[in-house]
Symmetry: C2
């Protein structure tokens, strides 16, 4: 069995876009009815087809990351937007419980809106059986807020720890023209957050936190020696000490990248992910392999059977305990 | 012969710090006399010792990157600061012409100060024989300015092209607490600028520009497949098309990183660099190799003799034509 821990609902029905547009225009919006058939049609020929073709089984599935748009400051708009988006991925996961496990968008705003975030965490995780959430380290989209290690985040960590879910550290649309959302902002966030964690004692304070850093950890594994050397010079913890609480996914779209990731980061800290259908589409004309078919790269990385099984399945079940309840047949 | 294209004067005499402090306090400052012996004492036991111990010959040498502090808005302060800093690296290079080739700090400010930048470019390159300059893509330190591909930069590119020098794309101190200067901001800048270039036609407009992206290109080689896939999806040029004008250095501080870099990026686009004495100090306790002894990693990367010679020497002479005039014995 193969679990892909990083997929977004990037094929949403048009009604969701219309809802968002109405929200941003008038502040108020009603989501038009979306039938189950429409939901099926949105994933059957897309994520579900690709998952099946590639031999995947279950995808951890959250609303479109760039669409979270936490920079919009109104908390009530953020709450309604997260609820509508989460309800849709929940419905998809109920239609295909063996193929999609839902992960929540949180109604963060530049000011925080932690009351709304905590309410949506409890609603999705406790009531609806979501297995995790995406936490945006830069709700402003311009990095106007505080690092994830600032105590202003701690009330959220209390709840996340209590719920025993992992959070994926995932920014949304960049609101700065220097940073292309998919080609720079996402990777910069991954890198920056790892560096924030390296200087902090956050996992001593919250030992139950589990952070998944996507896109192969941004620049981190490529510069692992830099982080080790910086830590030694500055008297910080060694980066390996973060690996009780920090995990990287495999959304890295070529063989050399996955080879580096699996060489540098212990297998127990790597979770299989493709982020399809996401930033890249199509296949490498030189190899015929679709860019985001990361299973090919993981299979090509020369891993032991045990390590490959960890990356493709077992780590996901450990990091996302909610998966076991949803997919009891796994055990 | 080995040329290290990325070193900063991080062992400056105390007088330079006092000058800077006076500048920032009163707006006016006079640099106290610094003797040649003091300059010798600042580099002999430091960069020069390490260069010699490791078998290096010549280092391309610029003022401390984090000290450029282009976020300070006053143009006259920026001009005086760049001049003082550049004069010192020039003097070091005159004391050791066979070991140090100077590269200029530019007096950028958040508003640009292009008149001052162009004047300092002409003074250092034409009058003093500097072989390149460091161009800060984020003089504000908060990414408040425009991407390097915006036409507001074009007057500088005209001059840089005319002078036939490469520029290293190098930010200074981050002015945002989310970004650790050495562990996040530097790498994010490298990644972000590559992405800016990928979407632009800047090298069609300025075919003579040569940009060196330091720190192994930030996250770029690790995510080369992501850039190829994004380009294909969006109809941009392939990232390989940038390689006529874009070069990466080897300031990546572990063997797996250099292995990835040399596997993904053609050898003609990689320039040897250590950035010593820079972000990291000390040695990996597991291997005994000093973190920034990148020569060990390059030698350990399994390159052909020809490719190794390109990376260690020949590419530097091609990308920095001023080196030939300073080191005629090379030929």
């Amino acid at each position: 069995m193969i679990i892909d821990i990083h997929g977004h609902y990037t094929t949403e029905p048009a009604q969701l876009f219309a809802f968002r547009k109405a929200q941003l225009t008038s502040g108020n919006a009603t989501l038009a009815a979306i039938s189950d058939d429409e939901l099926r049609e949105s994933v059957e020929p897309n994520q579900l087809r690709v998952l099946r073709e590639r031999g995947g089984d279950l995808m951890v599935f959250s609303p479109r990351a760039s669409g979270m748009e936490h920079h919009v400051p109104d908390a009530s708009i953020a709450n309604a937007w997260a609820q509508a988006s989460n309800d849709l991925v929940h419905r998809v996961s109920e239609l295909y419980p063996e193929h999609f496990a839902p992960v929540a968008q949180l109604p963060q705003t530049p000011d925080g809106n932690h009351a709304g975030v905590i309410a949506e965490l409890r609603r999705t995780i406790t009531e609806l059986g979501f297995v995790g959430a995406n936490l945006n380290p830069d709700p402003s989209g311009t990095w106007a807020g505080k690092p994830l290690t600032d105590e202003s985040w701690f009330d959220l960590y209390e709840v996340i720890q209590e719920l025993d879910i992992p959070v994926m550290i995932h920014v949304s649309t960049a609101c700065n023209p220097n940073f292309h959302t998919l080609g720079a902002h996402y990777l910069n966030a991954d890198t920056s957050v790892f560096m924030q964690l390296l200087q902090s004692d956050i996992f001593q304070r919250f030992p139950g936190l589990r952070f998944v850093i996507p896109h192969g950890g941004g620049a981190v594994p490529y510069h692992w020696g830099r982080y080790r050397g910086l830590s030694m010079r500055n008297g910080w913890q060694d980066p390996s000490e973060l690996l009780t609480n920090v995990f990287f996914d495999t959304a890295v779209y070529h063989q050399p990248g996955i080879d580096l990731l699996t060489r540098v980061v212990p297998s127990r800290n790597i979770l299989f992910a493709s982020e399809m259908l996401g930033a890249v589409r199509g296949a490498d004309p030189e190899t015929g392999v679709e860019w985001d078919n990361t299973l090919v790269y993981v299979k090509g990385a020369g891993l032991s059977e045990e390590n490959e099984r960890r990356i493709l399945l077992e780590n996901a079940l450990e990091v996302y305990p909610g998966l076991a309840a949803r997919v009891p047949a796994v055990f």
